[in-house]
Symmetry: C3
Subunit: 150 residues, 3 copies
């Protein structure tokens, strides 16, 4: 094996470590959201984390506001009798010069009325900046755009 | 690089090895199911594997019963003129104290009538216990819940 | 740890490196396609790359023809006022004896009319041969089959 081959192999192993960690992070993150675990979900953002959702006039800033958003959504979904799932796929992970990760992914939001048929509610693109704090990944910034509002 | 950094790096490499193996396992597992490969699919469960599907009154136990379930589904789908796909995403993988893996994921079941338009048939949560036997992962227990029957 | 355990562990680490690289490759590949980046997308095929789409009478051969196909699709989608996303999941990755990779996956194509509701447009199976050139993965052959035309 040449030095070049070994370097490429090491790079692939590093990418693999990062890529799996990011996938696991998003799985836990979205499971929290879809179970209505407001505090746990907010804790996967940095303390000053910013989420610019596609349907809100202003970005949501900080864990208290992020958790509050989840609690409101939980209430609305309970009243509507509906379960929602957030499915992130096609993750393109890029390490930035400051060590943060820029992750671009597709987000399917599936809505299922209780007693009814599931349907794709929104198709979005999610652009995140993830940072590592205390060994764990956290969302520092999230920008989501809806395919129906290009 | 500090000892702490090295430890975290080793943990991430271990997670990556496991995470990729689990993803590959599920891909092969669901390809078997969706191609109607009843015996091959059943062989990805342990001999005493249990599958608690959301629509059945009782869990299905053991490979013979699991394979029989696939053969019946194949027959029904052929009569209906429909293809189904099982798409597992958002895998959260946790190693239990006994070495088994607890995997929670989202399952989209897509149904396409031949000559027609694909549609989301069911949106489910899949909770598996995977164990390693002879170097290979196998499903020991599966519990699936439907979003329309919360 | 036994020699057998160490060998299996090394194999899993190798699979992980490959699996993450393939996932990242497809994410970038489909982001190019869905953003209409015709040249960039075509450059992720080999120079003599072949794409046998399910709806075309003949396979598309070579980067110029592949890029032209994207430009035509971009024009049609702009006229229709629609955004499309290609979501590849359930990747089963197999290393062939010649070192190429055979990857079988599920492809959901989601179409969102601007101002409207997203819907699953096509459900497909994608069978690729990937090869490594200059350290990068490229698609050498792609065969896509539609679930509505089995």
């Amino acid at each position: 094996m040449s030095v070049e081959d070994m370097t490429q192999r090491a790079e692939r192993t590093d990418l693999a470590a990062l890529y799996a960690e990011v996938q696991q992070f998003y799985a836990q993150h979205m499971h929290h959201l879809d179970r209505g675990e407001a505090e746990e979900w907010a804790a996967t953002f940095t303390a000053d984390g910013v989420f610019a959702p596609p349907s809100a006039p202003e970005p949501v800033r900080g864990r208290a506001a992020l958790a509050q958003g989840v609690r409101e959504a939980v209430k609305e979904l309970a009243e509507a009798g509906e379960t929602r799932r957030h499915i992130l796929t096609m993750l393109a992970v890029r390490t930035c010069s400051d060590g943060s990760l820029a992750v671009r992914s597709y987000a399917q939001i599936v809505a299922t009325p209780h007693g009814g048929t599931p349907a794709l509610f929104l198709m979005c693109v999610c652009e995140d900046i993830l940072v590592r704090q205390g060994g764990r990944l956290l969302v520092k910034e999230r920008r989501v755009t809806r395919d129906d509002r290009p």
